[in-house]
């Protein structure tokens, strides 16, 4: 026999539905999730402090240190702040199929063929209809011999080219490599370029 009360009020207290099975949350936030997910390496790599409390990786505000191995003299690191970095995101994340050449794999296509197609999908950019080499030549031929002063009227600094004209960039690089310290350098555990990465930034 069902009464009205059965409809109105449940037969349990505290409004906790006994029919529902409540499971503990997964993953359990009380666990050490870093180790659960095997993130110790990466966390050590980016940790700001070492377990003994000393300072670990500093927070770098520029990638100046990362490009020191390049041949060039970057007296000014291009960033968004100084207006020379530009905005790369719209370029990288553009997802417009019309802009890019699309290739489609047909069932009858072998994987070799497909790979070939993939490798050459952008080669058409250098075809005659898109790239007029003569024009390029014409234009480049119009460029005469330059002198540093002529760019300044158009707001271009020669330093932006980062040409290591006097070769000072390499000397510093070489000297610094000998004087590296084990302290506050970025840890690159899995790289054979470890030494390069660990050098101290230019000062």
């Amino acid at each position: 026999m069902t009464t009205m009360e059965d409809h109105i009020s449940p037969a349990y207290y505290y409004y906790v539905d006994p029919s529902t099975l409540y499971q503990p949350q997964q993953p359990n936030p009380l666990d050490d999730l870093i180790s659960v997910y095997g993130l110790q390496d990466i966390s050590q790599q980016v940790a700001r402090t070492n377990p003994d409390g000393t300072k670990a990786v500093k927070l770098r505000k520029s990638y100046k240190n990362q490009i020191n191995d390049l041949s060039g003299k970057f007296s000014i690191i291009p960033t968004r702040e100084n207006g020379k970095g530009g905005d790369i995101a719209p370029v990288l994340f553009q997802n417009n199929p019309d802009m890019m050449n699309q290739v489609h794999r047909t069932p009858d296509m072998s994987s070799e063929q497909w790979r070939q197609l993939m490798c050459e999908r952008d080669a058409s950019l250098f075809d005659a209809q898109s790239m007029d080499w003569e024009v390029c030549q014409t234009v480049l031929s119009q460029f005469e011999r330059s002198h540093p002063a002529e760019f300044q009227t158009h707001g271009f600094q020669a330093e932006d080219l980062a040409f290591d004209l006097d070769g000072s960039g390499n000397t510093i690089k070489a000297r610094k490599r000998k004087n590296r310290s084990s302290g506050s350098s970025m840890a690159t555990p899995n790289s054979d370029l470890q030494e390069d990465m660990k050098r101290r930034r230019l000062e």
């Binding site: 997964q26 990288l92 890019m100 790239m131």
Partner: protein
């Protein structure tokens, strides 16, 4: 190794994901997105790896995040394609543009630098990605995402809890039974076990299911069991006396207390306490009861008390009493607002905590605050009692009830009785004073007699309103209303009587005033004195009231009143009549004058119109008398009025011959009248009399000389005074007056006249002293006396005295000697030297003999000059007032003899006397050869030298045998001069002159 790197935005946080090398070819449409399955597959692989490495954990799956993640290949391709297209674009534009080559160059360089910079970034990214060993960066992103999601869930939970907390503010949970509380909170009732019985009959009727109904047998059995249990239980319990009447029935115990309540109790087991079932109030069954609350209280008492029924009786009894008190309170409220007591006559205060009601009746009456009763619970009997607090009952009238029971049903009647009794008591008390009488016809009225005329009274009916306690009279006049209001404000019987007496006094005053005004008197209502005219310190104690009535006639002198002091006691009324002067000074009325000697005391009953009319005729004279007295007092003259009784003592000459007309006589002391001068004291009698004859408007001042001044008295001018024939010493001065107000002005005239008399008399007295034989007054005017004093005067007068007076005294006496007076030579001295006139008179008198003889000598010498050879001349030289010189000069022989006459004070027989001293001048030396010498010598010998022969014989001076010579008793011969008094100077001068006037041969 190819690494696909997803980018979070553009800032370089990457999520590395390891992919197989073959994924380069997998980077088609499907490869751009990494599916969850792929990922989990990947994880599985990795976990398998970890199993091998020994670090494997069974990590639960995390929700995968793919947003904003792209493969690195795609990124590089995107950038590369973009760069190529940009370059082509730039070159295409530059070909046709007519730009400065350097500008083109710059644009090209800028593009190149820009693109290189983008590749630089990508380079850094790739380089960093290579440092990640396990390519599990994406897991970190997932973990972070999961943390955020969990955090949000916890937050939401907290907020939801908080919201439900706010919704449950009204839920109150009893401490011991949290579960039941929750039931009640959530279900609205507790979940009770029903044992499958449904007690409700309705449901059984509807469904006809007998299984759920209680069998009636069970019910009856249970009731019987309960009856037994109850009977046993009650017989084992201690029962208060009030609970003796109980019955057990229907599973209940019925206990009823008469007139109070019936309570029903029950229990389920003998060992269980009794509990409450129902309650009825027997005195009023309609009263709604809060049985729910009562049940709680009673059950608690029954459960906890060691003697439950006693406690139950106590609590119920108190409850009943409280309810009854409240009902009385409600009834009183009703009585106060709706019954005959409405309008604030009845006031009560209900103190619910003390369960008392303080009742005040007659709260608008004069006795408010004294009319109290209290309703409360008597300690001995424990029932509600009304107690009437009345002070008087404590004494004699003990038969009056003050304690009433059965208050609840009988309240109105009790109040009526109390108020009636109280009114009777007040009446009795008022009657006991004797001021009020009982009315024979109307039993509840009191009579108070108020005079309607001086001789008659009318009774006033005064009644008490039993409801309000206020006294009232029927059809009151304005005055009566005022006094009834006053009566209703008094608090004591004495005050009550006082107000009544004041009413009587007011009435008497108004009756008198009415009488006076009808006959033509003017009653002054304005005058208010600080203190009553008639005073007696004992009156205040004897409850005697008094008030002054000021009346006057129009033609009376201003400020003068007849003052009637009405003195009223309970029984009688006396009127005192006085005369007084009242003037306003600085805003207040002051009694300036009051006749306290001639106070006339009358009874009220004797005040008649005849008397008032008579007063009108006779009072004026008295007023004038007093006015004069007042004026005299004001002038500081001692005086006294001579009333008609004292007329016998007054000298006859003052009493007017015609007695038909009224006249006032006052005696005045002379000295004070004149103003302190005692000059007249020796001339006039001390007492003077002032008579005012009203019929001919004359004021007369009578006086009397001490001495017989007839000789001089006749000299006084008629305008100055009149002598009364029969008595030559007495006189009067008369002035006629026109205005009684200004009667005082005449005093000054009298005073001046008297001063003149004083002066004149004084002067005359002096004159009389100084030459009685030859003295005669030839003329007497108010300011002038002319008289003769010289022996052989042929003049009209010898001397005249002008009297200069100011207001009250003689200022100066001016002595004028007649031009033909031989002493006229002194006039300049008299004028200039301001000599005392006594001195002057004495001096003139003293020297008059000398100057008399001198004049004769001078005249004879002149005549002799012609008859004889007449060489020798005589002349007088006045050195000063005390030294004269007589110079005999013979031009023929040019001889000069100077005879000095000096006035000297000498001591004779020890007393100082004024004497003449006659001698020759010292500075003048006359040689023996001078023809004058013999004369001088002769004088010395005959006049100056003592004649020894005559001394011996006692005979007269030889050779000059003159009969007069023998008289010269005062002569003292001093060899070089002679001394004599005023009487003998004539003789001496003549003697010397006889010798010297002979011319030298």
């Amino acid at each position: 190794m190819t690494t696909a790197v997803g980018m979070l935005q553009n800032n370089g946080l990457s999520s590395p994901q390891r992919q197989v090398t073959a994924d380069v070819s997998n980077g088609l449409k499907a490869g751009e997105k990494i599916s969850g399955a792929g990922y989990s597959k990947d994880v599985k692989k990795r976990s398998e790896d970890r199993v091998h490495t020994g670090k494997v954990t069974n990590a639960p799956e995390l929700p995968h995040v793919e947003v904003n993640q792209q493969p690195l290949t795609l990124l590089i391709r995107n950038l590369t394609v973009f760069s190529i297209k940009e370059l082509i674009q730039l070159l295409k534009i530059s070909v046709h543009a007519n730009q400065d080559p350097s500008a083109k160059k710059t644009a090209f360089l800028q593009l190149v630098v820009y693109l290189r910079n983008q590749f630089l970034k990508l380079y850094v990214l790739v380089k960093w990605c290579r440092t990640l060993r396990n390519n599990n960066f994406n897991t970190m992103i997932d973990l972070l995402n999961w943390f955020r999601g969990s955090n949000m869930a916890v937050n939401n939970c907290i907020w939801a809890l908080k919201a439900s907390l706010a919704g449950m503010t009204n839920a109150k949970l009893p401490n011991p039974d949290l579960i039941t509380a929750l039931e009640v909170l959530s279900l609205g009732r507790p979940n009770l076990q029903t044992h499958n019985f449904t007690l409700s009959g309705e449901e059984r009727a509807e469904n006809g299911q007998k299984t759920s109904a209680v069998p009636s047998k069970l019910i009856l059995k249970t009731l019987r069991d309960m009856n037994i249990i109850l009977s046993v239980k009650i017989s084992l319990m201690e029962i208060p006396d009030q609970f003796k009447q109980y019955s057990v029935c229907d599973g209940r115990l019925y206990i009823s207390v008469e007139n109070e309540f019936e309570v029903q109790l029950s229990t389920t087991h003998q060992r269980m306490p009794l509990f409450f079932v129902d309650l009825k109030l027997l005195f009023n069954e309609l009263l709604p009861l809060n049985k729910y609350k009562l049940e709680k209280v009673i059950n608690e008492v029954l459960y906890k008390s060691p003697r439950p029924l006693f406690a139950l009786y106590k609590i119920l009894h108190n409850y009943v009493l409280s309810v009854q008190m409240y009902m009385i309170h409600a009834e009183l409220l009703d009585l106060e607002s709706n019954s005959k007591y409405a309008g604030g006559n009845l006031v009560h205060h209900y103190d619910s905590r003390k369960t008392t009601i303080n009742l005040k009746y007659w709260s608008n009456s004069r006795l408010k605050g004294k009319c109290n009763a209290t309703i409360g619970i008597e300690e001995q009997t424990g029932c509600i009692v009304l107690r009437w607090y009345i002070e008087e009952v404590a004494g004699s009238q003990s038969e009056i009830p003050v304690r009433y029971t059965n208050v609840l049903s009988n309240l109105g009647n009790i109040l009526d009785e109390i108020m009636f009794n109280h009114s009777q008591m007040i009446k009795a008390e008022l009657l006991s004073t004797g001021v009020l009488q009982e009315d024979d016809e109307i039993s509840d009225a009191l009579l108070f007699n108020v005079p309607s005329t001086p001789a008659s009274v009318i009774p006033i009916q005064i009644k008490i309103n039993v409801i309000s306690g206020v006294f009232y009279v029927r059809n009151p006049s304005g005055l009566l209303t005022f006094y009834i209001n006053q009566i209703n404000k008094t608090s004591t019987t004495d005050d009550f009587i006082k107000v009544l007496n004041r009413l009587k006094l007011d009435k008497i005053i108004s009756i008198l005033r009415n009488m006076f005004e009808k006959v033509g008197w003017a009653c002054n209502n304005v005058v208010k004195l600080n203190a009553p005219v008639s005073k007696d310190p004992s009156w205040a104690q004897k409850k005697i009231l008094f008030r002054d009535l000021f009346v006057r006639l129009e033609n009376w002198p201003a400020n003068w009143y007849l003052i009637f002091s009405v003195i009223s006691s309970n029984a009688t009324c006396i009127i005192e009549k006085r005369i007084g002067k009242i003037a306003a000074a600085k805003g207040s009325w002051e009694l300036k004058y009051l006749d306290n000697e001639n106070v006339l005391t009358l009874k009220l009953e004797s005040m008649t119109y005849q008397k008032i009319l008579h007063l009108k005729k006779t009072s004026l004279h008295k007023i004038v008398d007093h006015m004069i007295i007042d004026s005299l007092n004001g002038l500081r003259m001692r005086n006294r009025i001579c009333s008609s009784k004292q007329l016998g003592a007054v000298p006859e000459y003052i009493v007017p011959g015609d007695q038909t007309h009224h006249s006032s006589i006052l005696s005045i002391e002379l000295e004070s009248f004149i103003g302190g001068s005692s000059a007249l004291k020796y001339i006039l009698e001390e007492t003077m009399f002032l008579r005012i004859d009203y019929h001919d408007s004359k004021i007369k001042l009578f006086g009397k000389f001490r001495k017989n001044c007839k000789a001089i008295g006749k000299q006084y001018n008629e305008t100055l005074m009149h002598f009364i024939d029969e008595d030559a010493l007495s006189f009067y001065m008369s002035e006629s007056f026109t205005d009684l107000n200004n009667i005082v002005q005449h005093f000054n005239t009298f005073k001046q006249k008297l001063m003149q008399i004083v002066t004149l008399t004084d002067v005359i007295e002096k004159l009389h002293d100084f030459y009685s034989e030859n003295f005669s007054i030839v003329a007497l005017k108010p300011n002038e006396i002319s008289f003769k004093y010289l022996k052989n005067s042929k003049d009209d007068y010898d001397c005249r005295i002008l009297i200069q007076t100011n207001d009250d005294s003689v200022k100066k006496l001016e002595i004028k000697l007649s031009p033909r007076n031989p002493q006229h030579i002194f006039q300049p001295f008299i004028d200039s030297n301001r000599l005392d006139y006594h001195f002057v008179f004495n001096y003139l008198q003293f020297t008059s003999g000398f100057f008399g003889v001198l004049e004769s000598i001078l005249t004879t010498s002149e005549s002799q000059v012609k008859s004889t050879n007449g060489y020798t001349t005589v002349s007088l030289q006045l050195h000063n007032l005390s030294v004269y010189g007589l110079i005999y000069y013979n031009p023929e022989t040019s001889t000069k003899i100077t005879l000095m006459i000096e006035l000297r004070n000498v001591f004779l027989n020890g007393s100082k006397k004024l004497r003449y001293f006659v001698h020759f001048a010292d500075d003048e030396h006359i040689s023996t050869k001078s023809p004058a010498y013999p004369l001088v010598h002769k004088v010395r010998n005959t006049v100056f030298m003592v004649d020894s022969t005559s001394l011996i014989t006692g005979d007269t001076i030889s050779g000059l045998a003159s009969p007069k010579r023998a008289k010269a008793a005062s002569l003292i011969r001093l060899a070089d001069g002679i001394c004599c008094d005023a009487a003998d100077i004539e003789l001496v001068i003549r003697e010397v002159n006889d010798i010297l006037k002979i011319d030298c041969v």
